[in-house]
């Protein structure tokens, strides 16, 4: 096999969920002994592609060829047998078992009598860890005592124990500190020397330039480009990822910006919310950009009282407030549309009507009983106003599509007539049509004087919708940019500035 022959090739692979195409005719290959970076915005299809490679999803169309043979990977077991291993962002180890047990779980070396050969387990685990320059780690330690970086190395050792030819790493540096990032990069280079092909998913361009041999960019589920790393620069990669004139997709409504509604000074909570100060005005959309783990969501949760601040002041409508609980935040006129609508936004088996009235149920009651007719009327109005596509307001929310579910969450919070609306990834996992509708709704709201704080991983959304942009990294606000100043390059640089400075 020559060095340029791919070990794994996907060609023309497609995948749809509930009618929404998340991968369209994508081709992708990995050679032995290369680091192939996979790049794209959130929702571009990277994780779907990885899950197809690791056997978790079966593609709707296209072929997978491993080592010259066409194969079907219908389960993770198939992928493992084909020599493909994956290290996920959320590491999948058993905390109560030892390092050695975790590495060989499911394929323990056996003695001739069929019992587990514990001395082989331990000595081979030792070998694997030594190969990864991880001599300090004892194979008998329970995994629960290890750091994230150490657990990651155990995962890599586990992959090697199964003779992986291809190692997929999903955002491996997302939760590592700088020293561990350097060490991980060393390990990746070493694996490449040994002929392992590595699929490296990361948002961090500097890492990609330092490690990758080739880079593939996905956008909206489609393959945009595959280039040798020497052929592209950072600017070109960003434009490949973003790929469209940003203003054309995001309808920015010009709303009159009024007085300050929310003034935050020196807000602190743990390591993820540090010394945050900003102000938000009526009719304004303030975008918050930042990488995963930059403290964006934590800031939202602190403002909303889920994780109350330990210090700092919040002034709402001129009055200082100390927000201790979501209930209090709600009653003060702060609404939070969460990042994960299934987890924190909706009660899925419940009817649309009941979900919409949930935050205002006390107001809808007279005496002990809910005014049912009024509840139904308000829900019907909300469903019509936001364009929720459903059979009836009695339909369980779980049956709706992602975009319509999101509209129900927004409808619930609009019932509270909020002054400040915090939207955390308002269009994640939402199809293109519903996404534009949600943006239109946001425009309507600011015109009515609502102040919106919008968190988004999608740079074009932040740049397209916001009047001002705050860029967060490491729990701090790194930069505050006006709409004119906020270019992808500037925001991107500020997002990663923290790591480079550290």
């Amino acid at each position: 096999m020559s060095a340029d022959t791919p070990f794994v090739t996907l060609s023309g692979v497609s995948k749809a969920f509930a009618g929404v195409k998340v991968l369209k005719d994508v081709s992708f290959d990995v050679r032995a002994g290369e680091v192939h970076a996979l790049l794209g915005e959130n929702g571009a299809g990277k994780s779907t592609l990885i899950k197809i490679l690791s056997g978790l999803y079966t593609p709707d169309g296209g072929t997978i060829t491993v080592d010259g043979r066409q194969m079907k990977l219908t389960s993770p077991r198939d992928a493992t047998a084909a020599g493909i291993a994956t290290v996920y962002q959320e590491l999948l180890l058993f905390p109560e078992l030892s390092v050695a047990e975790n590495i060989f779980l499911g394929h323990y070396p056996r003695t001739s009598s069929g019992a587990i050969d514990w001395s082989a387990v331990r000595s081979r685990a030792r070998d694997l860890l030594d190969q990864l320059d991880t001599r300090e780690l004892d194979v008998d330690t329970k995994v629960l005592t290890l750091s994230v970086a150490q657990r990651q190395r155990v995962e890599i050792a586990k992959a090697l124990s199964r003779d992986a030819k291809i190692l997929i790493m999903d955002e491996p540096t997302a939760s590592l500190v700088e020293a561990d990032v350097q060490r991980l990069m060393g390990i990746v280079r070493q694996l490449r020397e040994r002929g392992v092909g590595i699929v490296y998913v990361s948002h961090r361009l500097p890492e990609i330039f330092a490690l990758a041999d080739r880079v593939t960019v996905l956008r909206d589920g489609a393959h945009v480009a595959t280039r040798d790393i020497g052929e592209v620069d950072e600017r070109q990669l960003v434009s490949l990822m973003v790929g469209r004139p940003i203003d054309s997709l995001f309808p920015k409504v010009e709303a009159a910006i009024g007085d300050t509604v929310l003034q935050v000074d020196g807000l602190n909570r743990g390591r993820q919310v540090r010394d945050i100060s900003f102000s938000l005005r009526k009719g304004e959309i303030l975008g918050i950009a930042g990488l995963v783990g930059s403290g964006r969501t934590e800031l939202a949760l602190t403002l909303f009282g889920m994780t109350p601040a330990t210090s700092g002041t919040v002034v709402l409508d001129g009055k200082p407030v100390a927000i201790r609980s979501p209930r209090q935040a709600r009653d003060l006129g702060i609404a939070y549309v969460p990042e994960d609508r299934g987890l924190q936004g909706l009660v899925k088996p419940m009817a649309i009507r009941k979900n919409i009235s949930m935050a205002t149920i006390d107001r809808l009651s007279s005496g002990i009983f809910i005014r049912a007719a009024q509840e139904a009327r308000r829900a019907t109005e909300a469903v019509k106003r936001l364009g929720v596509r459903c059979r009836s307001i009695g339909q369980p929310v779980g049956e709706l599509s992602g975009g319509n579910q999101q509209k129900v969450v927004i409808a619930k919070w609009l019932e509270t007539s909020p002054k400040v609306l915090i939207l955390d990834e308002p269009t994640r996992g939402v199809d293109v049509g519903a996404k534009a509708e949600i943006h239109t709704i946001m425009g309507e709201l600011v015109r009515q004087g609502v102040a919106i704080l919008m968190i988004s991983s999608e740079l074009p959304e932040v740049l397209g919708m916001s009047d001002r942009v705050l860029v967060m990294a490491g729990g701090r606000i790194m930069e505050e940019l006006s709409r004119e100043e906020a270019t992808p390059e500037r925001v991107g640089a500020a997002m990663t500035a923290h790591k480079e400075a550290a």
Binding site: L249, V253, Q344, P349
Partner: protein
Amino acid sequence: MAMSGVDLPPVRPQTSLQRPGFLRRLMADYGQELIVLLAIVVLFVAVTAVNPRFISANNLTSIFSGNAYIAVAAIGMAMVIITGNIDVSIGALIGVLATISGTLAVAGYPIWVAWFFPVLVGMAINGLIGILVAYFRIPSIVVTLGALSILRGGLISVTGGTWISDLPPAFLIAQQKWLGLPVPLVAMIVLTVLAALWMRYSAFGRSLYAVGGNPEAAVATGIPIERRIVAVFILNGFFAGLATILFATQLQVIQSTVPPNLELTIIMAAVIGGVSILGGSGTVIGSTLAAILFATIGSALIFVNVSAYWLRAVIGLLILATVLADMLRRRRTV
């Protein structure tokens, strides 16, 4: 609207919202309850065909009156399970409360004290359980298993297994009639209807479904879930107390033991009545109907001359079928 591009999809036309027909809504909201009701009717028809004495007034009275306390206890249990919790100590609690009630009655306290003091005790004990579950985050199965051992062990140690007899006749309310109907039957119907209305149409009832359906979302919507969990356990203690009044006053004596597996029977009534064991759905109408179904099955087995041991097996099959149906339904919607 400043929209320079052309590729913004227009807001799609609104589909009309139809209100589904009455029958469809009834099936959607009360599907399981209707199935249980149908089972009761079928059973009555079938057993009466075999043995007409089954439908005699005497037998009906014994079916409903003798088991009404299970239905009443199942109301509180249904509420607890709807919030995603469970109480396995309720059988032992009813035993303890019955002994307290009988002791007070024999000791000459006013009858109403003998009836209602145990209700307060039940609420207090369950309030404590609720606090451990809600604020100390101990799973309810663990807390109530502990409570089960404490209550059962404590009861046998204190009473030494003796029976309480010489109860004042006025104390025996379960043997009395009200408007020509046995008191337990009236109590069961009134409590079920009130609790059902309250669960369906009150903000509190609604919040219990939210807490069980998705606790995280409930918190993020401003529902104080800890307070709701404590409240639902106190309610459970309240209904256990009322059930105790019916249980303790139906015979001339109070045994220091309750029927074996009483807690399981009560839990099963809730689950077979359509309360999802995972929380978030079900009604107290269902739990009461299921309690009636058990009583009917138990009586039917006697009338068609089948060993009563089959009762447990039949109920066990029912519970598996119900939970399976629940799982299948969830798979379809989520």
